[in-house]
Homo-oligomer: 235 residues x 2
DNA sequence: ACCTGAACACCGTTCAAGT
DNA sequence: ACCTGAACACCGTTCAAGT
């Protein structure tokens, strides 16, 4: 088993398992080689370099996204497709960071992008509107969002409780939200009180409902060749 | 000038100038020291380590965001505040990556977050709705968005034109968008045909208009303590 | 064809010493 | 108080050699 000859697949599988367990920052070519009982340079026969390794890992994850059956309603189809992507990508915590770090799209990424785009267009949305809605979705179309509240206030240097007591004074509005979010949660910290899945679906629905409204209004972007101001607001 | 004694401010300024010019990946403690005509370890008297250096850089940038005068209309105020943040952050290309990499918020980040939150709450939105709208804004509240279409299809290994010719066949919907986007642009590439500022404002308005609609509908999230399904859709 | 060893040019950071 | 030198434990990758 261990001494099986290397292959690109085995390299990728091991890399993914390692990243799952130890985090993406811990994954280096040298440690991966070690994991495979092999000298670092042996990897380079199956992978062009570290970037190609990361591309390969993303390719596997994105390739695993399975589409839900189409209902014929574009909004529901898009929603389910993105939530399906989320289910897949969330299993690998590192995939968000790696995906965002890619400087070029891999084939599987293009396939997913194209199929998602198709749901809008086939649903009757104009190419114009679809284009901008895809931008508005941004990386949320992969099923994740950067959870900004996850970046809690600094608690390492000064004492954590001191920070928490100071919050209402210095940041009264954040304190209000923290209080409300902690209402049902277990503690009063800013981040962990929030339900990732709820926030994701809320944001997704805001964008999709917005798209629906603009579609009903026959929204178009102003011709980009004109030098005058563009009206980007509905109506 | 060159031989002026080191200070945290001089370290941060030099680091920012270097990142502006050479990119954030090129910035290392060793190169920064070199830039300051100093041995690497000299930096550690003014900066706790690399993470603290990056925190300091973000602190300076975010601290420079200047708020626009309030109009009394929350939507317009939020819009202008975020576009003002964008103007500041866009001057430093590296700030998006660095900000997203922070694991804890710095004081200036908390100040900005609190003032933005205040605009919603003082505008009459419920704390509940404000909370979720902030999540929906996500990192877009800093004035940038991850431009996914900037990740163009791979063009290094195989010839670029071959890729472009294959696009309509393999990814017909993307081809349609690329065609439309290139309409007024100079070339048919997937990314650079898009207007960053336009896409940013479009996405921002979708979220803010969505917030306005939910506010008018007196939207509330279902109590998080209940174990039943939550209705997250308007109406 | 596939793996290895040694080396190169980098990292961030610790520790003990200089002035 | 502030800066230095040398060292440690890492990186990704090239190149020439082994089997």
């Amino acid at each position: 088993m261990r001494r099986a000859t290397l292959s690109r697949e085995r390299v990728l599988q091991t890399a993914m398992a390692y990243a799952d367990a130890q985090g993406i920052d811990a994954l280096s070519m040298r440690r991966l080689a070690q994991e495979l009982d092999v000298v670092p340079m042996a990897l380079y026969k199956h992978v062009a370099g570290k970037e190609d390794l990361l591309d390969g890992m993303i390719e596997v994850v994105v390739g695993e996204i399975i589409g839900a059956t189409a209902t014929g309603f574009w909004k529901q189809d898009v929603r389910e497709r993105i939530l399906s992507a989320r289910k897949t990508l969330v299993r690998h915590q590192w995939s968000r960071t790696v995906l965002e770090s890619r400087s070029a799209m891999t084939p599987a990424m293009l396939d997913y992008l194209d199929s998602l785009t198709g749901l809008f267009i086939d649903g009757g949305l104009s190419v114009d509107l679809t284009h901008h809605v895809m931008h508005a979705l941004g990386n949320r179309m992969w099923g994740f969002s950067q959870e900004l509240f996850a970046a809690t206030p600094r608690s390492d240097t000064s004492s954590f409780t001191a920070q928490r007591d100071a919050l209402p004074r210095q940041h009264p509005h954040l304190a209000q939200i923290a209080m409300a979010a902690a209402h049902a949660g277990s503690d009063a910290r800013l981040g962990p009180g929030c339900d990732d899945q709820f926030e994701f679906e809320f944001a997704l629905d805001v964008v999709l409902d917005g798209a629906e409204i603009l579609h009903a209004q026959h929204w178009t972007s102003a011709p980009r060749t004109s030098s005058g101001p563009r009206d980007i607001r509905p109506r």
